[in-house]
Amino acid sequence: MFTPSRLTLARKRRGLTKTRLAALSELSVRSLTSFESGEAIPADETLSRLSDVLKFPPDFFSAQEIDEPSADAASFRALSSMTAGQRDAALSAGALAMELCGWIEKRFVIPEPDVPRLGDDNPEAAAEAVRAQWQLGSGVVGNMIHLLESKGVRVFSLAEECRQVDAFSLWSSDAPYVFLNTKKSAERSRFDAAHELGHLVLHGQGSPNGRAAEIEADRFASAFLMPRASVLGVAPRLPSLDALIKLKRRWKVSVAALTYRLRSLDLLSEWHYRSLCIEIARRGYRSKEPEEGPRETSQLLAKILTALREEGVGKLEIASALHQSPPDLDALVFGLAMVSLQGVGRGNGKSSSKLRLV
């Protein structure tokens, strides 16, 4: 049994056009198109060639239909500067993550989604409303990823070749997903997580793209990570950059994000804000965060992968149960739960068949 949509997904995941894939696998564009549309079924030998080129196991192409999230449902930071290929690669990685998630949910009870969809009228008020719903008061969010996971958000790593995308999020079947670039500084990645939460909350109903939506999500993130009351309580009136570098640790944000927040709360004059920004750029803090904090990782994935490992189920077994390649699985948890995936489940030939039972 051949599933056409899976061929399309695998091709997009690798960022290939039909023409390019046809050339790489020595097929005509016309035959490839007919495979993807379901008009024709590739012969075994052809499928194995496609499988080699695309680096997906052959049985990936015969598994059940897979849902690919639509571009409309996802929030992309820089949609206009992205190519369609980059966008599709990110979305198809999203589809693979959903497969993994579905697989996990058959085996584990994980937190139910508790993310309100409030609309985009007032990002600052929305951030306060979410904090109220989650009973966070105006305290510091100790770990943004753990917080999201505890509220039912599925957090995954953005694949290497999709890094230009920065981060993105989407709702799928009433479950919220966030994909983070785990190669950024800890502070940037935290801000991204809050920014994506902003999209889920503010733009959960409609098409969330465009410059205005990005500004709204930034304002949400800024207010969510640095609540007004908490900043007003401790903010210095005329801080030096060095004082801000010390202060930013309190909210675990970048010094640039704190400076922006102080300006938006009118705690810095335009002149002072500008001179701090110049100093931040001059010292190179835009690209290298000073006094970077520890990186946040996933608690959910770590717990699940640890539990599975104790049952003798490792990366290879999970990948094979999902008909995915181990590197694709690695990419989804890269930087989030790397350690747990390494060298597990080897030599236990029985485990993969055990997995298929459920």
């Binding site: 584990f108 994980i110 753990h146 401790v234 005329l238 309190r250 002072h272 608690q299 539990a307």
Partner: protein, 209 residues
């Protein structure tokens, strides 16, 4: 000299400044810019540096802030910024520790030079001889002083119109005083102290089906 008008209520201050073509923000930004520059000085800077850079940056920022409204700089004798109609000018100057207090009479911290004294003399309106009022704007010009006083972590400031210079050369009488809200520079926490207490860890609970 206790009968000079003193504006200290925010509303009255805003209205009076508006009559002069000014805003609280313009003056506050200038004051903050100067104090921020002062904060940048270290013990290795020569002793006059903190006061100098505070004056320099306050003057420059005020000129920059007001330039879009048509104000221009004048460095003839004293370093001022001049209203487009030429009849109001502002010079930045250090005030003593009575600056910004409504019921006190502040003085400039230092003796003023002859150019300031000349400017002050032009401030004097010979009410009885109105018909003799000078015709050209620069002769009618009123030169205000933006008095700034830093006391520890508080900055007090006022925009005041000098009336007379005392024997020691410091301005000690004012026709008018427009007081700005004091600005507290102090942090309410010590940035060197420990960070906020770590919030309790968030538990993501999972359970095997």
């Amino acid at each position: 000299m206790s009968h000079q008008p003193v504006f200290s209520e925010p509303l009255a201050v805003g209205e009076r400044l508006a009559e002069l073509g000014l805003t609280v923000e313009a003056l506050r930004d200038a004051v903050l810019a100067g104090e921020s520059a002062r904060n940048g000085c270290t013990p290795n800077d020569p002793p006059i540096a903190p006061g100098f850079v505070a004056w320099q940056l306050a003057t420059r920022t005020l000129r920059e802030f007001l330039a879009p409204d048509g104000w221009t700089r004048s460095d003839a004798g004293i370093n001022t910024v001049v209203h487009p109609d030429g009849e109001v000018a502002i010079v930045v100057g250090a005030g003593d520790d009575r600056t910004g207090l409504p019921h006190a009479n502040p003085r400039t911290r230092y003796a003023r030079g002859p150019a300031t004294v000349d400017a002050i003399e032009r401030n004097i309106q010979p009410g009885l001889f109105d018909h003799l009022l000078p015709k050209n704007a620069s002769d009618r010009r009123k030169t205000y002083v933006l008095l700034i006083c830093r006391v520890n972590e508080e900055v007090r400031s006022e925009l005041s119109l000098p009336a007379a210079v005392g024997n020691d050369g410091r301005v000690e009488c004012w026709f008018e005083r427009i007081l700005l809200d004091p600005i507290s520079l102090g942090t309410q926490i010590d940035p060197d102290s420990d960070d906020a207490p770590e919030p309790p860890p968030i538990e993501v609970s999972i359970r095997r089906r």
